[in-house]
């Protein structure tokens, strides 16, 4: 199993001068051939992580390993890592061919080998025939592909992508998401993708690291993170959420909005205060007397695929509902949801503690 790990961070901290650490005691493992996403708001430390992997900066504390070798202080030019920069950083004084050939040329490859490698890389990103074009004359999507070709021609083991889609218009962005995922499958190398766009992260990744304030809040598959956020930050950042204060009465029983509900969470202390998450798409609008909660429709927006309906219950909690059916503003309605739709989060629980608690459920399930 250890052979599958390509990049490993051991308690890495990055701090500039006396400012608060931009990356605070982070440990992580990246395996070969997987698509990873670092997700978080700006300033959360996600770009710092890929700059550390690329070698543009050195950790203040801790160790970074690649292929089992410590690389914390090795020059970026000696790492089997390449980066796609946010602004692509294509060399404006070189044409497409010379941009892609830059890596092979500075590695003093033979001329004929360079030409073959460059042509191969350009074919890979469907840019054949544009070899002699100037960078300024290319569209955003084409520049993006040149940047990819320029990186993969060096046959890196890890490709770092620093918000590469943020400069593209939404339609092209979706197309490029498919292309990136496809590219990663064909190359079979590790991708580390940085984004602040949660939809992009959910669509592309094998595994997501959610970061905030220089710490990893949660890591896991897109569905894990979406369905089982460890804390309020993750729940709020990934998708839309209704988060209300509640009390965990006992295992499988939670109280919020003035009532008690059956749920699937356990392992809390009796009567422990907690936060309850219900996703807007898990709420269903019913006639007022049939739902588990009574609420009044306050406002409604048409979002294309669904209506976004904002309701307030009798206790003043706000509930956002995504429904394909229209509601009437001002109406008294019922809100229905199942025990599975309720996700209870412990206040201030870390990812490790959360994982332990989840494991105890699994054990309990097998024990039955």
């Amino acid at each position: 199993m250890a052979d599958d790990v390509i990049v490993r961070f051991e308690n890495v901290t990055k701090q500039y001068d006396d400012d608060p650490a931009v990356l605070d005691d982070v440990s992580l493992r990246l395996e070969r051939g997987k698509f990873y996403t670092l997700l978080g708001p700006s300033g959360c430390g996600k770009t710092t992580i890929i700059r550390l992997i690329a070698g543009f900066i050195e950790p203040t504390k801790g160790h970074i390993f690649m292929d089992g070798q410590e690389i914390s202080r090795i020059s970026p030019s000696k790492r089997k890592v390449n980066t796609i920069f946010q602004d692509y950083a294509l060399f404006p004084h070189l044409n497409v061919f010379d941009n892609v050939a830059f890596g092979p040329v500075v590695k003093r490859m033979k001329k004929s080998d360079i030409a073959d490698a460059v042509r191969g890389a350009l074919r890979f990103v469907n840019l054949e025939g544009l070899e002699s074009r100037a960078i300024a004359g290319l569209s955003g999507g084409q520049q993006q592909r040149v940047a990819i070709a320029r990186a993969i021609v060096n046959q890196p083991e890890v490709l770092l992508l620093d918000e590469p889609l943020s400069a593209l218009d939404p339609k092209l962005r979706t197309d490029m998401q498919y292309e990136l995922r496809e590219l990663q499958r064909r190359l079979g190398i590790t991708f580390v993708f940085v984004t602040h766009d949660q939809e992009e992260a959910l669509a592309l990744s094998d595994e997501i690291f959610v970061l905030n304030n220089g710490r990893i809040q949660q890591s896991g598959s897109p569905t894990d993170i979406y369905d089982e956020p460890v804390n309020r930050f993750v729940a709020d950042f990934i998708g839309e959420s209704n988060i209300v204060a509640g009390i965990m009465i006992s295992d499988y029983l939670v109280e919020f909005a003035g009532r008690q509900f059956e749920c699937v969470d356990k392992g809390f202390n009796p009567d422990e205060p907690a936060e309850v998450v219900i996703r807007p798409e898990d709420l269903e609008i019913t006639p007022a007397d049939r739902g588990k909660l009574r609420a009044r429709v306050d406002s409604q927006l048409f979002r294309g695929v669904h209506y976004e309906i904002c309701c307030y219950d009798e206790n003043g909690n706000e509930w956002i509902v995504h429904s394909t059916r229209k509601a009437t503003v001002g109406d008294e309605v019922g809100l229905d949801f199942g025990p599975d739709d309720i996700h209870v989060m412990r206040l201030g629980e870390t990812e490790d503690e959360f994982d332990k608690r989840i494991e105890s459920y699994e054990e309990a399930r097998y024990a039955v």
Binding site: A89, F102, V106
Partner: protein, 270 residues
């Protein structure tokens, strides 16, 4: 209506150009047609192509080239370091400040410093090397000229380096380039326009330097600038002085064309 107002604003500029650029050039060209006795002639031009003046021309170009080259060698690393410092605008200001001072003042200061009893020779004596003749040598001429021109070289190079997108340098390193390769293949080509305008700002005035050729080089270095001054002020041969000036103007124009064409040319290359 709008067109006419714009023309009104242009009047001071047009007057300035006519009085101080076009008129002097016309006058210089006119005077170059007369010999010392006031007779119309092309003899001045014939004289310019004799070995005496040809030698002077070659020397002028050679010294201007040396001054430009050493200025570049000093200015590029300096400008590079400036962009890396924390208070770069302050440091830049300090570097530029000497250029605000009068040229003659600076020349006289160097006479004091390089003189037989000046601090430089005192230091050489203390080091056991002994007193040297520094003033009135080619070395002192180049040294002082470089000192005077370096700020004009630093400024455009600093601006070019400061505008360079740092992620391009990161990209070069990321693609495996050594520090030297990054400089040679990315940083220098992308700041070449700054280097060109710096060279222009140094080479053209250096071509017609005359004051410090006498004060610092003790007339050991005779350039076209010196020759013009001598003809106008000493021999009173305004015709010959003007003829040399005509060739200097042509040389400057050529330098402008040769170093200036890069910027627009590159962007249209497809």
């Amino acid at each position: 209506m709008q067109y006419r107002t714009r023309n009104i604003y242009l009047i001071p500029y047009a007057v300035w150009i006519a009085l101080f650029v076009i008129a002097p050039i016309v006058l210089i060209a006119y005077y170059s047609m007369f010999d010392i006795d006031g007779a119309l002639t092309v003899g001045n031009y014939r004289r310019f192509f004799t070995p005496v003046y040809m030698g002077m021309t070659v020397r002028s170009f050679w010294y201007a080239f040396l001054v430009t080259m050493f200025s570049l060698l000093v200015a590029y690393p300096t400008a590079y370091l400036l962009t890396k410092t924390k208070h770069k605008q302050l440091w830049l200001l300090l570097m530029i400040m000497p250029s605000w001072m009068n040229l003659l003042l600076k020349a006289y200061a160097f006479i004091g410093m390089f003189g037989t009893y000046g601090p430089v020779n005192a230091l050489l004596g203390a080091l056991g090397i002994g007193t040297k003749q520094i003033l009135f040598t080619e070395f002192s001429f180049i040294f002082v000229a470089v000192y005077i021109f370096v700020p004009f070289m630093i400024l455009p190079i600093f601006n070019a380096l400061d505008e360079l997108n740092p992620s391009l340098v990161a990209a070069a390193r990321d693609l495996g380039a050594s520090g030297w390769d990054t400089f040679r293949r990315v940083v220098f080509p992308l700041t070449i326009n700054g280097v060109k305008s710096g060279c222009r700002a140094v080479f053209i005035p250096a071509l017609s330097l005359f004051m410090i050729t006498r004060l610092i080089a003790g007339n050991r270095v005779i350039t076209l600038g010196t020759a013009i001054e001598q003809h106008f002020l000493v021999t009173q041969d305004w015709g010959m002085g003007s003829t040399i000036a005509v060739f200097l103007i042509i040389a400057m124009g050529l330098t402008m064309v040769l170093t200036g064409s890069g910027e627009e040319g590159r962007q249209h290359v497809k």
